[in-house]
């Protein structure tokens, strides 16, 4: 019987309520790796030509994220890269580490993905209120009329659930597929599927952070976009 939920693999527990399971440990590993890598690569930052490899690598990643956010939002990426970029880096590294045997991505547990989706859920009003003010932001929920208020709220909650379930379903299905294949054709096919899983992990990391950015942007600039559409000059390229 394959353990599909990394929450159920418990390493250490204190009573009934508090326990250290595989999800938490793997999350710590990913966090430690990210912090260590960024610390090492930003110790000797320089602008003179002999740049260290790590600095070039990190700059490539950061500038890629900045350009993506700028193309999606058509706003300055400085405000959004902290949040969306962190989500992307975490999910991407968490799924990349699957090449290490015995490791399972913490994103294949619903608790991790739900936690990140709840972060997005709260980030949308925080960015929106910081951008437009509280009354202007909450007026969005009663657009176009007060009847739409419950539907807007349901939409907000259900898209958070969708965000969490999408990442969880993709990651878990990958693990499960490899585990099932391992019992049917154990020789060659599981490693091919693992390779395919790396690609899926990157695509899902990209999609999760893009959707988070899109939600934040749509919470912050809804009215501006409408005005832009109405004005004759505001033709999108």
């Amino acid at each position: 019987m394959v353990q599909i939920n990394p929450d159920e693999v418990i390493y250490w527990s204190l009573g009934e309520t508090f326990s250290i399971n595989e999800t938490i440990v793997n999350t710590w590993i990913v966090m430690a790796l990210l912090i260590l890598l960024t610390w090492i690569s930003t110790r000797h930052l320089s602008i003179d030509p002999p740049l260290s490899h790590m600095q070039v690598f990190m700059e490539t990643i950061v500038s890629f994220m900045k350009s993506e956010i700028e193309e999606i939002s058509r706003k300055s990426p400085e405000r959004y890269i902290h949040f969306s970029g962190t989500l992307f880096l975490f999910i991407s590294v968490a799924s990349l580490l699957s090449i290490v045997p015995g490791y399972r991505s913490p994103a294949s547990s619903l608790s991790t993905t739900l936690a990140m989706a709840i972060c997005v859920f709260f980030a949308v009003p925080i960015y929106g209120i910081a951008e437009r003010g509280a009354s202007d932001y909450f007026a969005r929920y009663v657009q176009p009329s007060i009847i739409m208020l419950p539907f807007n709220i349901i939409g907000e909650v259900s898209r958070t659930m969708a965000l969490a379930l999408r990442l969880f379903g993709n990651m878990m299905s990958q693990n499960l597929l490899v585990a099932v294949l391992l019992s049917i054709v154990p020789l060659f096919l599981p490693s091919v599927m693992d390779l395919f899983g790396l690609l899926i992990g990157q695509v899902q990391a990209y999609i999760f952070s893009v959707l988070a950015t899109v939600y934040i942007i749509s919470g912050s600039f809804a009215d501006e976009d409408q005005k832009e559409k109405l004005s004759p000059r505001g033709v999108r390229e």
Binding site: I4, N5, E68, E71, I72, A162, L165, R166, F168, G169, N170, M172, S173, L176, V203, Q204, Y206, I207, V210, L211, V214
Partner: protein, 88 residues
């Protein structure tokens, strides 16, 4: 049939039906989106980057319906909450 057999039979059959019926719609939708995107790339190769990015995000959103069905069928098979009522 005892309660435990009923639950087992029902969960296995329903989980198979869930993923079978639930994947029809997303499959058609994704194929349609992909074919339209390929058309668009063939007509405007310069816009391939934007089209591909939008396609990926759109495909992920279309796919999520199938993922919900998959999650539900996995729950039914591996961690069915109704087992607790009969096995206890």
């Amino acid at each position: 049939m005892t309660a435990i057999e009923t639950i087992g039979v029902a969960s296995i059959i329903v989980s198979g039906l869930t993923i079978a019926i639930g994947s029809i719609g997303p499959a058609i939708g994704e194929a349609w989106a992909l074919s339209r995107a390929l058309n668009a790339i063939a007509q405007q190769p310069d816009e391939a980057n934007t089209i591909t990015r939008t396609l990926f995000v759109g495909l992920a959103m279309v796919e999520s319906t199938a993922i919900y069905c998959f999650v539900i069928s996995i729950i039914l098979i591996f961690s069915n909450p109704f087992w607790n009522y009969v096995t206890r």
